[in-house]
């Protein structure tokens, strides 16, 4: 098995691991670092369940060859809360019923975090456009959209 040393900062913690070169970022997160909040569903970049932020950009961790994240700063769902204090988006997803079964929820919240960081005044149209590829088979999206708009400063 051919490996390569990969150095990353994950949720503020510097990490170095020898990783098989054919793996993807989601394998590093879930299998090596035990960060299982990031979910794998479709495995080909369509569903958004594995959304993470790499060097500030929202991506699908299942599509990201691990060799390409060497040196990167990575943020996952586990990095959003401060201790026991949830992030405003996490609170809003609970308050507005932004989930049911929960499997897509980490990806939804990470994606929404990236949106509001880039565009703190996101409108409903902005939310719809940005969140389009984060699939949910339970909620019908209304609760998710309302949760994001509750935190967006442009919605009130």
């Amino acid at each position: 098995m051919r490996t390569r040393p990969i150095r990353v900062t994950v949720n503020g913690v510097a990490i170095e691991r020898d990783v098989p070169v054919e793996r993807f970022l989601i394998d590093l997160l879930r299998d090596d670092l035990d960060l299982t909040g990031t979910k794998e569903s479709c495995g080909i970049g369509v569903c958004g369940a594995c959304s993470v932020i790499v060097d500030g950009a929202l991506v699908s961790s299942c599509l990201m060859p691990v060799v390409l994240v060497d040196g990167a700063v990575i943020e996952t769902i586990e990095g959003l809360a401060s201790g026991d204090a949830l992030s405003p988006l996490q609170d809003a997803f609970i308050a507005r019923g932004g989930f049911q079964c929960g499997i897509c929820t980490p990806g939804q919240i990470v994606a929404a975090s990236a949106l509001l960081r880039e565009n703190p005044r996101a409108s409903r149209a902005d939310v719809d456009g940005w969140m389009m590829g984060n699939l949910c088979r339970c909620t019908g999206y209304e609760g998710i959209t309302n949760a994001i708009l509750a935190v967006s400063r442009g919605s009130s």
């Binding site: 098995m1 051919r2 390569r4 098989p20 070169v21 054919e22 993807f24 495995g43 080909i44 970049g45 369509v46 958004g48 959304s51 950009a57 929202l58 991506v59 699908s60 299942c62 599509l63 990201m64 060859p65 060799v67 390409l68 994606a111 456009g129 940005w130 389009m132 590829g133």
Partner: protein
């Protein structure tokens, strides 16, 4: 299954590695197409040449009157670039509507072209804008290939072993040219299009079509240019009947495959409908 991973610092080293390993090597840009093909077992290269340290492949800028996008520019960089938005707004808009923002953050201009998937969005728009791919070979060799001639078959380009795409150059449009990109998305907005149409049209002072470029995605094993449609438009006044008749000519230019996004016959019908709609958007 695994592979040897190489990460050269220069394009010269990269082309030598690619040539040295022949058909057993693939170049890795943003990794989106690579991941989709690799995870489904469609490619099993023995060597992967990562390009991310090759600084000369980065950046979007004006070179004289032409717009240059390096191969490693992401779709999102194209979408947001001031140079693209001010010189080729239709190109920025086409890139803004590719798949999802996650894909646009990862997929690159060069990787997309090398992937040669006929259902992708950038090739038809780039063909309609007469874009040229600059290709690097070993020992400093450079050649220019019109994007229109880059594709030879499904998932196959005209690049030789040891060649890689440096970037694309989009020439300036003549003042008054209008361009657009439309796609038929019967399922969801982030899906691949059943068919898509890019068009660029300019009218002369007399209201006749002075120039026309029409290109389609999803309508053949490669992105195609609809020359019969273009010929029918040139010199004519763009009345509704002319646009309808010209668009109808695309029927014999497409070569669609049966697929999950429609039968060949359906795609042929939709190619005519969406070609007409693209033209109507430009001259209505």
């Amino acid at each position: 299954m695994t592979f040897d991973y190489h990460e050269p610092a220069t394009v010269d080293e990269a082309t030598h590695l690619l040539r040295g390993h022949g058909g057993d090597a693939v170049a890795l840009a943003g990794g989106a197409a690579f991941a989709i093909l690799y995870r489904q077992g469609l490619i099993r290269p023995g060597h992967v040449v990562g390009l991310r340290r090759c600084e000369e492949l980065r950046g979007i800028r004006l070179e004289g009157d032409a717009l240059w996008s390096g191969a490693l520019a992401t779709h999102r960089e194209v979408e947001r670039s001031e140079a693209v938005r001010s010189h080729h707004p239709a190109l920025a808009e086409a890139f803004a509507r590719i798949a999802t923002v996650r894909i646009r953050h990862q997929a690159t201009v060069g990787g997309n072209l090398a992937h040669a998937d006929p259902a992708q969005d950038p090739p038809p728009m780039l063909i309609a804008l007469d874009a040229i791919a600059r290709v690097a070979g070993p020992d400093g060799a450079r050649r220019d290939v019109p994007v229109e001639r880059l594709f030879v078959d499904h998932l196959t380009t005209s690049l030789a072993d040891g060649e890689l795409i440096l970037g694309v150059s989009v020439p300036p449009v003549v003042a008054g040219t209008r361009a657009t990109y439309v796609k038929f998305l019967p399922a969801s907005l982030d899906d691949y299009a059943t068919v898509s149409v890019a068009a660029a049209v300019r009218l002369d002072g007399d209201g006749r079509v002075a120039s026309a470029r029409v290109a389609l995605g999803g309508a053949a094993p490669v992105p195609i240019r609809a020359r019969a449609v273009e010929r029918a438009l040139i010199g004519a006044r763009p009345a509704p009947a002319l646009l309808r008749d010209a668009a109808e000519l695309v029927r014999d230019e497409v070569d669609p495959l049966d697929g999950v996004r429609g039968s060949a016959a359906f795609k042929r019908d939709m190619a005519t409908v969406w070609t007409r709609r693209a033209l109507e958007r430009l001259v209505a």
